[in-house]
C-alpha cells in the first residue's frame, strides 16, 4: 500500500521523466513488436510452404508394379512419412494437362506419354526440415527402380535459412532494445532515488527496513515497464490494423506473444530498477 502510494507519488513528482521512461520502453518494445509482427507473418507463410514440402520419386518405366506396391507400403511405415501416393504415367499426364493448360496443344501432339510414374511422399508436420527431407530422400533413392528423387532442396534450404535469420534478428533486436530500455529505466530510478534522498535518509534513521525502502522504486520500475509494454502492444495493433485495412491482410500476433511482450516490459522494468536501487541506494 505504502509502496504503491509512493510509486504513484514518484510518477506525479516527475511526470516528464517517468513518461519519457515509459515512452522509451514503449518505443523499444513497439519496434520489437513491429519486427515480431513481420516475423510472425513470414513464419506463417513459411509454415504453409513447409506443409507442402513433398518428395517425388520418379520410377523407371520397367519397374515391377508389385515391387512398387511393396516399396509404397514400406515408405508409408517411415516415421517421418504421413502419406505416399502412387501416380501412374497416365495420371501424371492428366495432372500435367490439368495444371498446365497453356501446354495443352503440345500434350495433344504427343505420340506417346513421356512422363514417368512416380511416388509422391508427403511428410508429417515438424518433419519437413532440410536434414529430415534429405534423409528420407536418400532412403527412397536406394530402391533400384527409383530413377530420380526431387524435393526442391535449394529453395527448401533458403526457406529455412530465412526463418533462422528472421528468428535471430528478432532475438538480437529484442535484446538490444531491452538493454536500451533498461538503461533508461535505471537512469530514471537513479534520479528518483536522488530526488528522494532526504526521505530515504529519514527512513533509515527511524528504522525502515531496506526492503521497505526499495519497494516503491521496484514497483515504479514494474509499473513503468508494464505501461511501456501495454503501450507497445496497442501501437503495434494500430499498425497491424492500418496495414490490414489498407494494404494487405496480416495475421495478428498470438495472445501468448502479446503476454510475453507485456511480461518482458515488466521484467525489464523490475530488473533495471532492482539493479539501479541496489547500486545507488548505497550512495544515499
Amino acid at each position: 500500500m505504502y509502496a504503491m502510494r509512493e510509486a504513484i507519488r514518484a510518477f506525479r513528482r516527475a511526470p516528464l521523466l517517468t513518461g519519457l521512461s515509459a515512452g522509451m520502453i514503449a518505443l523499444s518494445l513497439f519496434l520489437v513488436g513491429l519486427f515480431g509482427l513481420a516475423a510472425y507473418n513470414v513464419r506463417r507463410v513459411l509454415d504453409r510452404v513447409e506443409a507442402r514440402v513433398e518428395i517425388i520419386a520418379f520410377l523407371n518405366d520397367d519397374a515391377v508394379p508389385e515391387m512398387v506396391r511393396q516399396a509404397q507400403e514400406q515408405i508409408e511405415d517411415f516415421d517421418e512419412v504421413r502419406e505416399v501416393r502412387y501416380i501412374s504415367r497416365e495420371a501424371a499426364l492428366l495432372k500435367a494437362r490439368r495444371e498446365l493448360p497453356e501446354f495443352e496443344t503440345l500434350f495433344g501432339d504427343l505420340a506417346s506419354n513421356p512422363l514417368p510414374a512416380s511416388l509422391e511422399v508427403m511428410l508429417r508436420p515438424n518433419q519437413t526440415g532440410p536434414e529430415v527431407v534429405e534423409r528420407v530422400a536418400d532412403r527412397i533413392r536406394a530402391y533400384p527402380f527409383v530413377e530420380d528423387v526431387r524435393y526442391g532442396s535449394e529453395w527448401l534450404d533458403k526457406v529455412f535459412l530465412l526463418r533462422r535469420v528472421a528468428g535471430t534478428a528478432m532475438l538480437v533486436l529484442g535484446i538490444s532494445f531491452a538493454v536500451v530500455a533498461s538503461l533508461i529505466i535505471a537512469t530514471a530510478i537513479r534520479m528518483a532515488i536522488y530526488a528522494r534522498r532526504d526521505e530515504i535518509q529519514i527512513m533509515r534513521l527511524v528504522g525502515a527496513t531496506e526492503g521497505f525502502i526499495r519497494g516503491p522504486f521496484i514497483l515504479e520500475g514494474l509499473l513503468t515497464g508494464l505501461g511501456g509494454g501495454l503501450a507497445a502492444v496497442i501501437a503495434t495493433y494500430l499498425v497491424y490494423s492500418t496495414i490490414s485495412q489498407s494494404i494487405f491482410q496480416l495475421e495478428w500476433l498470438p495472445s501468448t506473444w502479446m503476454a510475453a511482450g507485456i511480461a518482458s516490459g515488466a521484467a525489464v522494468g523490475i530488473l533495471a530498477s532492482a539493479i539501479a536501487v541496489r547500486r545507488h541506494l548505497r550512495e544515499v
Binding site: Y2, E199, I202, M203, R204, V206, G207, A208
Partner: protein, 228 residues
C-alpha cells in the same frame, strides 16, 4: 542499555576519530556529551546508531552488539533509538503532522495508530495548533520540536541529540532543552551532544562526559576513566 567498550575509530584516509572510548548510558539516564568540534561527539552518535562500525572495541545497544549485528537487525535497533540533528532533517514538502506520521508509516504502523499517536506527539511538543504547517512556515525552535516528536514516534529507549540547539537562539535553546528534560523525566534516556557549555553549567545535576581529540577527558559519573 548503551555500552561502549574500548571503542576506536580510524578515518578511512588515516588518523583516528576515537581512541579507546568506554562508557555506559543506563536506562532513563540523561548525559551531556561535550567537547569542541571534531572531538568525536558525532562519531560516537553514529556508532551507537550503527550507521558506522568501530575499527576496534565493541558497542552494545539494547541487546545488540556492533560486532555481530546483522544488516536486517539494524533497522529493528533503530526503532529503539530516536535521533535528533542540528539541522532538523524534516521533509520540506510535508506538514508537521505528516513528518511525524512518516516515521510511523515506514515502520508499518496502522493508520488509526498513526492518527492518534501524531496528535499526542504534537500536543507533547506544544505544536497541536500547527499540525498542518510546512517546515518553512515554522520557526527554528518549532522545526526542532517537530524533529523531536518524530524521534519519539516509535517510543524509543534512548534519544540521541546531536547539537540539537546549534541552530537556535537562546530562548528556543532553553525551550528545546526543557523538552528533552521532560522526555527524560518520563523515562527515556537522553545522550545530548553539545558544545554549549553555558547549557551544561546551568544544569549541573546531569552527568557530563567531555571529549577531546577522540578521548574521554572527564566523566562526572565518578567512574574511573576507561572503565565501563
Amino acid at each position: 542499555m548503551i555500552r561502549l567498550i574500548d571503542v576506536h575509530k580510524e578515518f578511512a584516509k588515516g588518523g583516528s576519530a576515537l581512541n579507546g572510548i568506554s562508557f555506559e548510558l543506563r536506562k532513563g539516564e540523561f548525559c551531556f556529551l561535550t567537547g569542541h568540534s571534531g572531538a568525536g561527539k558525532s562519531t560516537i552518535m553514529r556508532l551507537i546508531h550503527m550507521a558506522d562500525r568501530p575499527s576496534a572495541g565493541d558497542i552494545r545497544v539494547a541487546g545488540y552488539r556492533a560486532a555481530t549485528i546483522e544488516p536486517r537487525e539494524i533497522s529493528m535497533l533503530r526503532r529503539k533509538i530516536g535521533y535528533v540533528f542540528q539541522d532538523f532533517k524534516l521533509l520540506e514538502d510535508r506538514s508537521a503532522a505528516a513528518n511525524i506520521a512518516f516515521a510511523l508509516e515506514v515502520t508499518g504502523a496502522r493508520p488509526a495508530v498513526i492518527r492518534s499517536k501524531v496528535g499526542r506527539l504534537l500536543a507533547q511538543v506544544g505544536l497541536a495548533a500547527k499540525s498542518e504547517s510546512l517546515p518553512a512556515e515554522l520557526s527554528g525552535g518549532e522545526q526542532q520540536r517537530v524533529a523531536v516528536a518524530r524521534a519519539l514516534a516509535n517510543d524509543p529507549l534512548v534519544l540521541l541529540a546531536d547539537e540539537p540547539t546549534g541552530n537556535l537562539d537562546e530562548r528556543a535553546t532553553w525551550g528545546i532543552f526543557d523538552l528533552f528534560r521532560d522526555i527524560n523525566m518520563a523515562g527515556t534516556a537522553v545522550l545530548f551532544a553539545t558544545h554549549n557549555l553555558d547549557l551544561v553549567r546551568r544544569n549541573a545535576g546531569f552527568r557530563v562526559i567531555e571529549l577531546d581529540n577522540g578521548s574521554i577527558v572527564f566523566d562526572s559519573a565518578a567512574e574511573p576513566k576507561g572503565k565501563a
